[in-house]
Subunit: 159 residues, 6 copies
């Protein structure tokens, strides 16, 4: 049976840390669906269509990775896609506590398990909020964002 | 002398974890006042009157528990009610750091002590923010909210 | 009904932080039994009789506090003394995680609840291990140990 | 290609939390080798052969799980068994920090990734050190140890 | 060569903890620039000019401390001022994780190092968010804010 | 006035993370004394003279760094050397809590401040305990130990 995982997040923007987790996840899963979440009441730096477009461009070489947007509960989206795992990266102890609560509630609601990989040491300080702040100030974020995505960001209206 | 504690929070919504802490608190205190806080500048999922109404319904069987709303500083409200303790539940290490700062400042300002009970293992992942997210998406939150409150929520306009 | 708590620990040595927690605990409990644990296979800086003697001297003014030694499981000792609470102080987030596991297991085994007070800010860095290290090196530990106990330590053979 | 993971630990003793992680790991891996570590210079409550025997008895129904002992570096053992993942459970934020250092060093040395599952809420407080302490004091540890293993422990000389 | 550090923050308001860190920082640096950050899209309790004015009044006795406002990236501002260090205080483990990510990214972008001092025990619970809450409710925050600043706050329109 | 710091530790062994902290510390201090601690009642992997010899070889190019052994309290040793700062690296949140207690007690006893730098991301997982374990098993620890020291270790009797 095909092993499918979703990799949910807002990815505002997608970083080198996210990319690293997804590529390593391919050793565990046959197919990974990057699930770009959005919430009508929240504001984002990049709109959901741009975020999806950026990530698709980055993984155009990898047919086992697809990108979708979703607005329902993460476990509902996973069930719709026949995914039986949620893939997540963890960076810090603070992340861990937050992720643990979400993962345990998800499992209680649906039986779907979360599988965690750790970011590599050099990616540990990189999070979307810090990267967004660099972009807002027109700083050089090239070492924190995958190459193809970074080029698309530089070319986008939003930058 | 009667031992009175307040149990402050925004309770948006009140969860099975909150209920568990209050009921266990009755072994320590003669009377517990559940103090529903609100702040005119914040937005809530349930308005303060609904939150108060939900909790009162849940504890209608227990005369030693009362429910009130308040807008002033927590230690001021405690003093007005002759409470000499603030009861709190702690779930995680991250909670702990936040609670410690608040509790130590409260004690420095008023001499009123905070008393902590730990959530039971099965309630540890349950927090109001996650439960609210389930409610927003019309997911099944029945295992995370006390029965009487959950029924009132399902019947409310807000749901 | 009389409210009895035990305050368990190895107290090697008893610090100003411990004293502060016990005295504040008297607002919650009618009687507190300081339960000095020891384990035949562990080595201690002060032997269990000295630790008991030091603490008794410190609280000779307070009839609601008694001191006992014990070797069985903490929850067994609590039951033998009709205590329905275990009083504990928490200093740090790391302490918290350790205490949570112990407290939840204790409750699962016996139904006995642990009640936590936070150390005051100025006592937060004080733990028995650091204080012991100062004593070993004949440093001045007077600000970290209650006065009566510190005098007894200075007079003891072990110092 | 067969997906093989090792699940390393000292398992002194193996708990219900360990069992839960291994069984859930079977959804990710074709084969899991429970790798019972020992170190000639450390002392254990149960000797390594007993620990291996207990775990084998517990999983006698599951041909995809095998049990082995090892003394070399965990990554060396994994390579010898053609395992390309190390399966681990995480309980707390404190665990996480320790596991992260080990996992990142393992990956730097060998390219072998660690895959983490979270303990379920009710197993979060259960760790081998606490369970060992209960066994030493002849307390009832039946809810913390898998049934077959618990029976073997009660029958063993060591208990 | 003169050693210059910036001490960045929003200081809304500046607390006794901040003052303590800056004064101790003078043992390490010849000159400290307190860098008051602001962000046009955020709302503050005190406007940036008031925050700057309060801090200048507090340090009018100390010529080695200057106060400036800035809106660009912290590392860009540091470079403009020839500062080769960023001075920061850390209070808690949660603070630490956040500070670590920022500091490591800053160093990767600019080579500028962050230097950390720990708040003293009695200042550990004091953070601007808690103090702001006390001010909003007209509570007595005099023990948490340096004297000169507190007087200016009481005299200000905003209070 | 010359700014002197001590950099205390057991350094069993000295890692690339330690080296990185000391070299960056030279931007803050005129002179750094690496203070190799030992305790007659503890056992070490490398004896104190070897540890001192290894570190001296590594820094033979840097006259502002000296290496000494000490057995008294860290603050006593610092005072004897006219050091008014203790330099420390922090890796993780768990480290932080431990370091905070030590640093605050040191300051209460002596007025000597601790100054913290963060390990770089790639050094964050490297700690002496993990490295020691690799050495014990004759694994390749070359990426975790400075080159000169690693060569000396390979040549030593102990390896």
């Amino acid at each position: 049976m095909e092993k499918i995982a979703i990799f949910p997040g807002s990815f505002d923007p997608f970083t080198v840390g996210h990319e690293n987790i997804v590529r390593r996840g391919l050793k565990l899963f046959d197919k990974i669906i990057i699930a770009v979440g959005y919430n009508a009441t929240k504001s984002y730096y990049f709109n959901v269509e741009d975020r999806k477009r950026f990530i698709e461009a980055q993984f155009s070489d990898e047919s086992r990775i697809t990108v979708e947007t979703y607005t329902n509960l993460t476990v509902e989206f996973a069930k719709e896609r026949n995914a039986d795992s949620i893939l997540r990266g963890i960076r810090t102890a603070a992340d861990f506590e937050y992720e643990r609560a979400i993962a345990q509630v998800n499992r209680l609601m649906s039986g779907i398990d979360s599988v965690f990989l750790l970011t590599t040491p050099e990616h540990t300080p990189v999070n979307s909020s810090i990267v967004r702040d660099i972009l807002k100030h027109k700083g050089d974020a090239s070492q924190f964002i995958p190459d193809i995505i970074y080029q698309l960001i530089l070319d986008s209206d939003n930058y």
